[in-house]
């Protein structure tokens, strides 16, 4: 399967910024992941490697190394909740427990209805308004259980 012409255009544009194409790989993989339903299937890995002229294994290694790339299918949304020190001090532990009892998902799992994939993340850089979560690209700060439910229940 080939990538959309828009995506290829965007990637070609990225290439002009670097002396070597490969440097655009990670920025491009964000765009690719979005176009391919939020994860890297084997086919997507092969397509990406071909587009960049690098071995499949190289792309596989990138997917494995970076937490924001997914090697398995994800739900319609990705929920990233911070579990690092400050957020823990400010109540993230209870939120994590609540998500697992109320929505039935633990770290890395997707809800049965496919609504969201739940990921525990390390410090998300919003420690002064902890606890914090990112839902796709939206941030939600100073969370408590009520606020968390408000966000998660509102997801389509």
């Amino acid at each position: 399967m080939s990538f959309s012409p828009e995506l290829v255009g965007q990637v070609e544009n990225l290439w002009t910024r670097y002396p070597e194409k490969k440097a655009a790989l990670i920025p491009a993989m964000h765009l690719i992941q979005k176009e391919r339903d939020g994860w890297f299937s084997n086919e997507t890995i092969v397509d990406t490697a071909e587009l960049f002229g690098v071995p499949d294994m190289h792309v596989r290694g990138i997917v494995g190394f970076y937490d924001m790339f997914h090697a398995t299918p994800v739900g319609r949304h990705v929920v990233r909740l911070c579990k690092t020190l400050t957020c823990k001090l400010c109540g993230a532990g209870e939120l994590i427990k609540h998500v697992s009892t109320k929505y039935g998902v633990k770290n890395g799992e997707t809800t049965a209805d496919g609504r969201f994939t739940f990921k525990l993340f390390e410090c998300l850089g919003h420690c002064t308004t902890a606890p914090m979560m990112l839902v796709d690209e939206e941030k939600h700060e100073s969370l408590d259980i009520e606020a968390l439910d408000g966000v998660l229940e509102g997801l389509k």
Binding site: R17, P19, E20, K22, A23, A24, L25, I26, P27, M29, H30, F52, V54, H58, G61, I62, F65, Y66, D67, M68, F69, R80, T84, L85, T86, K88, L89, C90, F121, E122, C123, L124, G125, H126, C127, T128, T129, A130, L134, E137, K139
Partner: protein
């Protein structure tokens, strides 16, 4: 008295500051005009040296001196702005990128001019979509106004600035890992020497500086190195951003001059003390990779040297505060989990050691530890210190050892409780 001195955040509360027009109204891009028309590149570097500016990424290396390491060669030179901001507790660079991004772009151009680079990459952690967007918008505006690109402001200076998103790996904040990642690889740190200033991106001289460091350059050129050097105190000149988080009444990102107050005044006075009103237990004054200070150790002047003398470090400017409801063992577990998860796996002591330490600490937490485990923990961490390619291993060792040393009785109690547990089984 603890009070803020705002330089980088002077206009941060004004939403218009994000736009080129708003930024220019407040004197934006005057420093660039001045440098390109009146100063030689060498004079820009000299001004930064005069300012006493030290890197804000954690290590505090003098910025002007770093720039002088760039060899005079015909090879292309690069600036890589470190916006990976992932040290737990740190959320300061984001304030610059999201609220006043042009000062970072202007600082990047000035820095490139100083050491002869024509391209700057701002490596922003992937979990910062808002920072990425704010920077991209600002870059587009600046390009349209001929403030970057070819023949900037009609001079011979050509320079481009690009945003480069990462994808979620703490280690990419380490300067050599950042470069490996920027070239399109897994973020593995490299053995130094060669240092990046001599051999960095694509084997060319590359300066890696933190976002806040580069933002300071803008103000140094605008108002003079002399002016900057008079702010703060000797060894910690200028202003710095600090992120106070955890159990305090008034958490937040603040801009201070160092050397004017103690850590206690900052936390108990300016930040209002603990949120719960319970006694303070400890403070990590420079991110979670630095040793913890106990509540009785906080009467230390707040500057790089004094905090160092007290056995810790201002590190990345992240001040994490906890009250006495927090157990030392639990805190150490959380820290060890972070660093063992983020180890890139290249060096055996870090890869194996960090996981071993994490598992040992979990045993303390579960009251499943034995006599001798505490000595073993110290021994393993000692062997990780100084035996690896990058400083991530130490980022685990220092805080963990500090928790054991400073709250030893809690770890010993865990061993005792474990023994009771076994006896009653």
């Amino acid at each position: 008295m603890t009070r803020e001195t705002r330089v980088m955040l002077e206009y941060a509360d004004d939403p218009a500051q994000k736009t080129l027009e708003g930024y220019r109204e407040n004197g934006g891009y005057q420093a660039l005009e001045k440098a390109l028309r009146e100063m030689s590149p060498d004079q820009v570097t000299a001004e930064v040296e005069t300012s006493g500016l030290r890197g804000r990424g954690g290590a505090g290396f003098p910025t002007g001196r770093k720039w002088r390491f760039v060899p005079k060669t015909d090879k292309p030179k690069y600036l890589a702005v470190n916006a990976d901001e992932s040290e737990p507790g740190t959320c300061k660079d984001r304030q610059i990128m999201e609220r006043d991004p042009h000062q970072l772009i202007e600082g990047s151009l000035l820095s490139c001019y100083a050491f002869g680079a024509k391209t700057a990459y701002i490596y922003v952690r992937g979990e910062y979509p808002h920072s990425i967007k704010a920077l991209e918008d600002a870059i587009d505006e600046a390009r349209a106004a001929n403030l970057l690109g070819d023949k900037i402001l009609g001079t011979d200076f050509c320079c481009d600035v690009w945003v480069h998103p990462g994808a979620g790996a703490y280690i990419c904040g380490e300067e050599t890992a950042l470069l490996t990642s920027l070239e399109g690889n897994r973020g593995y740190p490299r053995i130094r020497p060669p240092f990046p200033a001599v051999e960095g991106l694509w084997h060319c001289p590359t300066i890696v500086n933190n976002v806040e460091t580069i933002a300071c350059v803008t103000h140094i050129i605008k108002r003079g190195g002399e002016w900057f050097s008079k702010l703060g105190c000797e060894g910690s000149t200028g202003t710095r951003l600090f992120c106070v988080s955890g159990h305090v009444k008034r958490p937040g990102v603040y801009e201070f001059e160092c050397g004017k107050f103690t850590l206690r005044e900052l936390i108990e006075g300016f930040c209002g003390g603990t949120l719960s009103g319970r006694p303070l237990k400890g403070v990590m004054p420079g991110g979670s990779s630095m040793p913890v200070l106990r509540a009785d150790e906080l009467d230390v002047t707040f500057d790089i040297e004094s905090v160092q003398k007290a056995g810790s470090s201002l590190g990345s400017g992240a001040i994490m505060v906890f009250d006495d409801s927090v157990g030392a063992v639990g805190a150490a577990v959380n820290i060890a989990e972070f660093y063992s998860h983020e180890s890139c796996g290249q060096c055996t002591p870090c890869r194996e050691g960090s996981d071993w330490v994490r598992r040992m600490l979990l045993q303390f937490a579960a009251q499943d530890a034995r006599d001798g485990d505490l000595d073993l923990l110290m021994d393993v961490t000692d062997k990780m210190d100084g035996t690896t390619i990058c400083a991530l291993a130490e980022a685990l060792v220092w805080p963990v050892q500090s928790f054991v040393r400073k709250f030893r009785s809690e770890f010993e109690a865990a061993v005792r409780e474990s023994a009771v547990g076994t006896a009653t089984q």
